[in-house]
């Protein structure tokens, strides 16, 4: 049977994050945690493959114990197993250290449930927002990567081939690749399903598998967590909110308003910058 791994991350719902105006720090308290938006699209695609071809879908995440909930949500949608890689020693990881631990986890998942044919990641996370972890995992495991996938065209199990459409700024690329392959999902890839009632019931009782540093025999401690992360956040600051002096254009008479607006635009440097005559 196909074995598909989906990497998901629990992230704070960025809609709810606010900045404390006094301390300039993030107010995370009370911000609900959600499964990273794009990752659900990766999971959905894996589940569609499972529906069509039959597959074992293993969902993995590195994060705090509370991320179990995110895994349960994936199980409710139809994933077979959820693995939480969690240890204080993993904390503070940047993308390099994260891709290392996730690659190790995928290898261990292979040892446990068989070789992996496909890995799905999200395009990027809402908090890290780098899109680097997916390529990092593919690189470490020496497999091909298909990033920014907007359509999963076909899977040919005989030939061990997939065809996908990659979304680029200036167009769309149809690409064929051989398994095993890592795919990062865009939100237009599909519409994640709502869990069925039996799925919810299963998830309500499901206990994710938890692996800590002790569960990896070949783990190099210098490569994980803060220590294994070459990037350092040297400072953070809140950008001065753009001070706009909003000018209201009187709209009582629309024709006059339109002319008024144009006059104001023409009074700026815009005509020069945009080459308006």
């Amino acid at each position: 049977m196909l074995h598909i791994v989906v990497c998901i991350k629990q992230v704070p719902d960025s809609r709810e994050i606010r900045i404390d105006p006094k301390t300039n720090t993030l107010i995370r308290q009370g911000v609900p945690a959600i499964v990273n938006y794009y990752d659900l699209h990766g999971l959905e695609e894996a589940l569609r493959i499972k529906d069509e071809f039959g597959a074992r879908v293993t969902v993995i995440t590195m994060g705090p114990p509370s991320a179990e909930k995110a895994l349960c949500q994936c199980v409710s949608m139809g994933a077979d197993e959820g693995v939480l890689v969690s240890d204080r020693a993993f904390a503070g990881a940047d993308t390099l250290a994260t891709s290392y631990v996730l690659a190790l986890t995928i290898q261990k998942a292979e040892d446990t449930w068989g070789p992996v044919d496909m890995i799905f990641c999200g395009k990027q996370t809402l908090d890290g927002d780098t899109g680097q972890v997916g390529p990092g995992i593919a690189c470490r495991l020496d497999m091909d990567q298909l990033t920014y996938v907007e359509l999963f065209e076909s899977l040919d199990i005989e030939k061990q081939e997939v065809v996908v459409r990659r979304h680029l700024e200036d167009g769309v690329e149809r690409v064929r690749a051989r398994l095993p392959v890592l795919i990062t999902a865009l939100d237009i890839l599909n519409r994640p399903r709502r869990a069925s009632l039996p799925g919810v019931l299963r998830a309500a009782r499901y206990k994710p598998i938890v692996w800590t540093t002790n569960d990896f025999s070949n783990l190099d401690r210098s490569k994980i967590g803060l220590k294994g992360s070459p990037t350092i956040v040297s400072k953070t600051w809140v950008p001065e909110p753009k001070q706009v002096n909003t000018e209201y254009v009187d709209s009582a008479n629309v024709v006059a308003a339109a002319t008024d607006l144009l006059n104001r635009l023409y009074a700026t440097e815009l005509p020069q910058k945009l080459g308006w005559s």
Binding site: T95, R140, E169, T231, L270
Partner: protein, 359 residues
């Protein structure tokens, strides 16, 4: 399912390969992204920024061009500010594919040792940078919007975090090169100077074509290409348009102003317009000179994607719509009356100018 037997290969990128005398790493390198021999504007923008950084560090600007029949781009790189250009020109590199491209990059980086490597934060740039940084290994800062260097030659790459609510400056002290992807439209390119000269170094491909397991079947260019990321004028519409039909009107205005049409997620989700038009957190982050927000309420997820536009015009019938908070020009009223009037006014203005020219 997959039959991959035998011993597992060791994991890639756990240790830097070869030279770790970081002091021998000098220079600022920019990866020149191209399609069919046409460079992406962000590449020249980054060479422009690299020139500034290189001057501070007193080092050379290096450009890396990979593709098929791209020798002209080597010249162009020099015209745009590069001192040295590394070119790998080969049929199997005609289309971007992660592995063959990253092998060339790795080879060049290890051999010519730049201390900083910059790539556009485009889909291709991010795809490639993620692979290379892991392989080397080194630290990689994503999507930077400010770049600088300090006395210790450290790259200070600053990037938005938490949906643009914060900025963070990120360093990599441990490894070289220091890598960053940087956003399009933020940095200024230098004026093209055809008198500039520089050195062009040919680099051989690093992968046997037979080993390459991915294949680009075809490239479908986006019709009427909505290149939001690079647009200078964007006329964006939201749910206030009431239906897909009103986008015709926006298109008209955009055409008059030489711009493109953008949209809020709400209308993209409603299917009124394609996803390519979506501006915002889960769409494209834009920085045009002029942005029209028409019938858009101004939800944070939208605003983070367009707040850095130089001028924002908001048109909304709800005087309390949050979009007005960031707008330079606000018109409270019905878009169905205002937009046609603006289109008319633009046309009249053009006509007047024409007549002025005649006499």
């Amino acid at each position: 399912m997959a039959e991959r037997t035998g011993k597992r290969k060791p994991m890639i990128g756990l240790q830097p390969e070869g030279d770790i005398d970081w002091s021998s790493y000098r220079g600022v390198m920019v990866f020149v992204e191209q399609r069919n021999g046409q460079a992406k504007p962000v590449s020249w923008q980054l060479i422009g920024e690299a020139t500034r950084l290189a001057a501070k560090l007193n080092v050379k600007v290096m450009a890396l061009v990979i593709g098929w029949q791209v020798s002209e781009l080597a010249e162009e790189s020099i015209y745009h500010g590069a001192d040295e250009v590394y070119v790998c020109d080969s049929k199997e590199l005609e289309h971007y594919r992660t592995r063959p491209y990253s092998r060339v990059c790795l080879h060049v980086i290890r051999k010519y040792k730049p201390e900083i490597v910059l790539m556009g934060a485009t889909n291709t740039g991010r795809d490639l940078a993620g692979a290379i940084a892991t392989h080397l290994p080194t630290g990689l800062t994503a999507d930077s919007t400010q770049l600088d260097v300090d006395e210790e030659r450290l790259l200070l790459a600053s990037r938005p975090a938490f949906s643009e609510k914060m900025l963070a400056t990120i360093l990599c002290k441990q490894f070289k090169p220091q890598m960053a992807t940087a956003r399009a439209g933020v940095f200024e390119q230098l004026p093209r100077d055809t008198t500039r000269t520089g050195e062009v170094i040919q680099v051989p491909p690093q992968m046997d074509p037979g080993e390459i397991a991915t294949e680009m079947i075809e490239f479908l260019e986006t019709k009427g290409s909505v290149n939001l990321a690079e647009a200078e004028v964007i006329v964006a519409g939201g749910r206030g348009l009431g239906g897909p039909a009103a986008f015709e009107m926006l298109k008209e205005l955009a055409d008059e102003l030489g711009g493109v049409v953008g949209a809020s997620r709400a209308v993209v989700d409603l299917g009124w317009i394609g996803h390519d038009h979506q501006v915002g957190q889960t769409g494209v982050t834009v920085r045009p000179k002029l942005y029209f927000a028409i019938g858009i309420s101004g939800a944070v997820q939208h605003v983070v994607g367009m707040q850095n536009s130089s001028y924002i015009v908001a048109i909304n019938k709800d005087a309390n719509a949050p979009i007005f908070k960031i707008a330079n020009y606000a018109i409270v009223g019905d878009l169905f009356q205002i937009i046609p009037a603006i289109i008319q006014a633009v046309r009249t203005r053009k006509l007047e100018r024409l007549q002025l020219l005649k006499y």
